[in-house]
Symmetry: C2
Subunit: 181 residues, 2 copies
C-alpha cells in the first residue's frame, strides 16, 4: 500500500468549490516573506536556478563548478582557504577534490614550506573545462541583469558585499579592529 490506510478519510463532497490558490512564494505578511535569511536564500536559489542545470551537467555538479571557478581565479590555494572561498566545510571540500582529482581536473601538491598544507592546482584539462563554464555563467548573468542599468547592478552588488562584510564582522568575535569604523 502506498500511504497509510487512514490518511485519506472518505471523500467529503462531490467536486464543487475551487482548488486552493497556487501562488508562488510565501504569502504577503507572513513571517518568512519578510525574513532576511529566507529572502537571501530564496534569491540565491531562484536566481541561479536558470544556469545550474547547464553548469552541473558540464562540470559534474554545482560543488565541482564552484571549486573550478574559484581555482580559475586563484590557483594553488590551500584546502582550507579554498573551502572557505567555495563556502564548504573542509571535509566536504576534500571529497569534492577527490572527485575532481579523479577526473584529472585538479591536482593536489604539498606545500614545500608548511608540509601540513596541501595546495590545490587546476590542471590544463580543468582549465579547458572551466573557462567555457565561466562564459556560460557570465552570459547567464547578463541575461538576468538585463533589466538593470549598470549603476543599479553596481549598487546591488555593493549592497550584497556590505551585508557580507557586516555579517563577517558580527560573526567574528575578535576585538574590533577599529571602533571608529
Amino acid at each position: 500500500m502506498r500511504r497509510e490506510p487512514d490518511r485519506h478519510p472518505p471523500r467529503r463532497k462531490s467536486h464543487a468549490e475551487a482548488k486552493p490558490i497556487p501562488a508562488y512564494g510565501p504569502p504577503e505578511g507572513s513571517f518568512v516573506a519578510g525574513y532576511m535569511s529566507y529572502l537571501l536564500a530564496q534569491a540565491s536559489h531562484v536566481y541561479s536556478a536558470g544556469v545550474h542545470p547547464r553548469l552541473k551537467e558540464k562540470s559534474g555538479g554545482i560543488a565541482e563548478w564552484r571549486v573550478l571557478a574559484c581555482l580559475v581565479d586563484v590557483d594553488g590555494m590551500s584546502v582550507s582557504r579554498l573551502a572557505e572561498l567555495a563556502l564548504f566545510n573542509q571535509p566536504r571540500l576534500s571529497k569534492v577534490l577527490d572527485r575532481l582529482g579523479a577526473q584529472g581536473l585538479i591536482e593536489r601538491r604539498g606545500d614545500t614550506d608548511d608540509r601540513r598544507r596541501v595546495r590545490v592546482h587546476i590542471t590544463p584539462k580543468g582549465l579547458a573545462l572551466a573557462r567555457p563554464l565561466i562564459e556560460t555563467a557570465k552570459q547567464h548573468e547578463a541575461e538576468m541583469l538585463a533589466g538593470y542599468t549598470d549603476e543599479e547592478v553596481a549598487a546591488i552588488k555593493r549592497m550584497l558585499k556590505q551585508i557580507i562584510d557586516r555579517s563577517l564582522a558580527i560573526n567574528t568575535p575578535g576585538p574590533p579592529t577599529d571602533p571608529s569604523d
Copy 2:
C-alpha cells in the same frame, strides 16, 4: 600512509619568506568577486551562519527548521507547494517530513477533494517548538540589521524581492502576463 607518497617533494628552503596572505573572501577583481550568483550565495551563507547552529540544535536540522517556519505561516499546504516554499525538491521534502512526523511535529492528512494530495499540518508540539525558534530568528535578524535604518532595511528587502520576482519571470517560460509590465 596518509597522503600519496610524492605529494610532498623535499623541503625547499629553511624558513624565510612570509606565509601567503590569509585574506577572507575572493580577491578583488576576480571573477567570483563580482559574480552575482556567488555574492548571493555568500551573503546567504555568512548572514545566517550566526543563527544556524542554534536553530539546528533545537529543531534537528536547518531543513526541519525551514519547514516548521513555513508551516507556522501557512498550515495545511500540499507537499509540493511546501517544497517549493521551503526551496526543496519534492523527494527531499518527503524525507524531511518523515523525520518531522516521526517526532510528532507535523502530520500528513490526505486532501479530501483531491486524493492525490497530502496536506501537511503542524501539530501543537510542532508549534510549541517552532514559535520560540521564530523568536530566536527574529532576534538574530534584529542584531544583524542593527546598523541599518528601517528605511534601508526596507530598501534591501525590496531589492531582494525584485531579484526574486525577476528571476522567476525569466525562469518561467510562459507568455508574459502583461507586456506593459
